[in-house]
Symmetry: C2
Subunit: 338 residues, 2 copies
């Protein structure tokens, strides 16, 4: 089985590749599991060294739109499954409208048209986002988001992801692909470097203090957030590829499970794991641009469809932090953190 | 004031132009009314003779995508308001996927980008459709559609219109246009010739018998339908341009008011107006392709937002038929119909 991951050198793409390599096989849409012979990572950046060293990994480095326009790239034709994770992130798309339209809107459309032209009907998992839900004074979000809640995006990123969901749904209905869209929650704790996402501080406020570094935490304690750990997020993405059509149900995007917490509770969990030395590193100076985006996102979901697929939320943010510490020992420098 | 109507030679576009010419002025988004000096009708077809003869009408004949790519067309730059009605209709889009993607998806995007590049920030009214709502076994529609109901389109036309709504919303949020999207209900009775819409028979089943001609009525009596007369439809489109931002409210598309009726009740109303000689002309042979599309559409709406804007539904389908007879005396040939 050949798999393509767009955004495959990014944090989630690389983690997905490692997960798939470790399990060695994949069941697509309920079919019998087949061994994974190759995973092609399409990304602007080169893949991490561990993946580059694996004989089953192929790296295709460059702009996704260029790769989609390349007439002879065999990996699109050979793909049994495509995980479409490549995207410009929320803060970038708000600052640079054209970037978002090119990277999220045009690239997703081009990917679907490429696959349609090939006639290979792969399983295609599209990573959408909770950012399709946006609160506004004219149209407040309900207290709890359910599977049937109307998305009213308040960012260009959210609009572009929501349009991607619609395209995936119709290309699937027409039989051109077997698409499933999953809405990722705020992923925390992301290892590595900050990215341009407005949600980046939700990871940075834990990752940097654990490394002994100061970190911005630019929104009030009361700010609600729907969190999923990297492990739970990848579980959701893989399950989307595996579910039978009947299990998957409607073509509407699936809200993945999340832990409803607040920035204040996250800081308290950090303090329980790493002490006051950690929270003392948090810079609480507000950032209006980030707050303007983050405050439109919902904090509480009821995810009945995801539950029926066997997907669950993290039990607590403290558990999420402990997972991060265990998985990233080299990134934890603060004295006294196990 | 300069106005552009895409699809301006079509039935609704021409009726909108006549309405605007008759009122002579327009208030845009709550501003003081200004006289209408020119209306440019962009359409593949030439406008009807009465419009072509009006000195305030300019006709631009050709493909909308070509007109949007034409670098020197002054009417885009001069437009204070754009009514974007041009579209490929539901049946065509289901039969020819590329046609729909080009005419509905790409053209709407190109129109928004053209206006954005000009920096003129016109009021832009986008004609969306009740076809954004689609019933399916995996995701049944609620009994009554309200303003917050999640669209789950089950046709390419519905998906393309729903994507258009999202683009209009974000280009508006960014300040590139002042967009308002209205979801048109099933318009009946349309005069003239049948078009490729799956909903075409909802007009044909009245128009053709009144003309003494046989007509297809290819779905069961029990089929629900949300109807609006041409007059009510144009009222909603004009109101969308006139409303202040505060009256208009959220950027989500507005469901226009509709009369909840059924095909059986429509036939009974026809018989009350035109006798058994009219209903005897109905061919009740089922058409599976039309039924497959039509049965996914909702029949009953509660339109609180539209009501707050002062918009109302037609009182009865019998009244709708009598309006048609009064407005189209030359098209009524059946003996004994007043």
């Amino acid at each position: 089985m050949h798999i393509v991951i767009t955004g495959g050198a990014g944090f989630l793409g690389a983690r997905l590749a490692r997960t798939l390599l470790a399990q060695g096989q994949l069941s697509l849409a309920g079919a019998a599991p087949r061994p994974i012979s190759r995973i092609t990572l399409v990304d602007r950046a080169a893949p991490p060294a561990d993946l580059a060293a694996d004989a089953r990994i192929a790296a295709v480095t460059g702009d996704l739109n260029d790769q989609l326009a390349a007439p002879h790239a065999a990996f699109w034709r050979e793909a049994d499954a495509i995980f479409h994770l490549a995207a410009a992130v929320s803060g970038e798309c708000e600052a640079d409208f054209d970037l978002g339209m090119r990277s999220n809107f045009a690239a997703t459309h081009a990917l679907l048209e490429r696959v349609r032209a090939l006639g290979t009907k792969p399983v295609l998992v599209f990573a959408s986002s909770l950012a399709v839900f946006g609160d506004s004074p004219e149209q407040p979000l309900p207290e709890v988001i359910v599977d049937q809640t109307l998305p009213t995006p308040q960012t260009s990123y959210g609009i572009q992801k929501f349009i991607g969901e619609q395209l995936v749904a119709d290309f699937t209905r027409k039989g051109f692909v077997r698409g499933r869209s999953v809405r990722l929650m705020t992923v925390s704790v992301r290892p590595g470097k900050p990215n341009g996402a407005a949600s980046g501080f939700f990871s940075g406020m834990v990752r940097e203090p654990l490394a002994g570094l100061p970190a911005a935490c630019p929104v009030p304690d009361s700010t609600p957030v729907a969190i999923a750990s990297p492990a739970r997020t990848i579980e959701g993405i893989v399950r989307a590829a595996e579910a039978t059509d009947a299990e998957w149900g409607p073509r509407t995007a699936l809200n993945l499970p999340s832990l409803a917490t607040t920035v204040g509770d996250m800081a308290a969990a950090l303090e329980r794991v790493a002490g006051k030395a950690a929270t003392a590193l948090l810079d609480r100076a507000p950032d209006a641009a980030i707050m303007r985006i983050v405050k439109t996102w919902p904090g509480r979901f009821e995810t009945a469809r995801a539950k029926a697929l066997g997907l669950t939320a993290d039990p607590s943010f403290e558990a999420v932090i402990r997972d991060y510490v265990r998985e990233n020992p080299d990134a934890v420098k603060l004295p006294g953190v196990a």
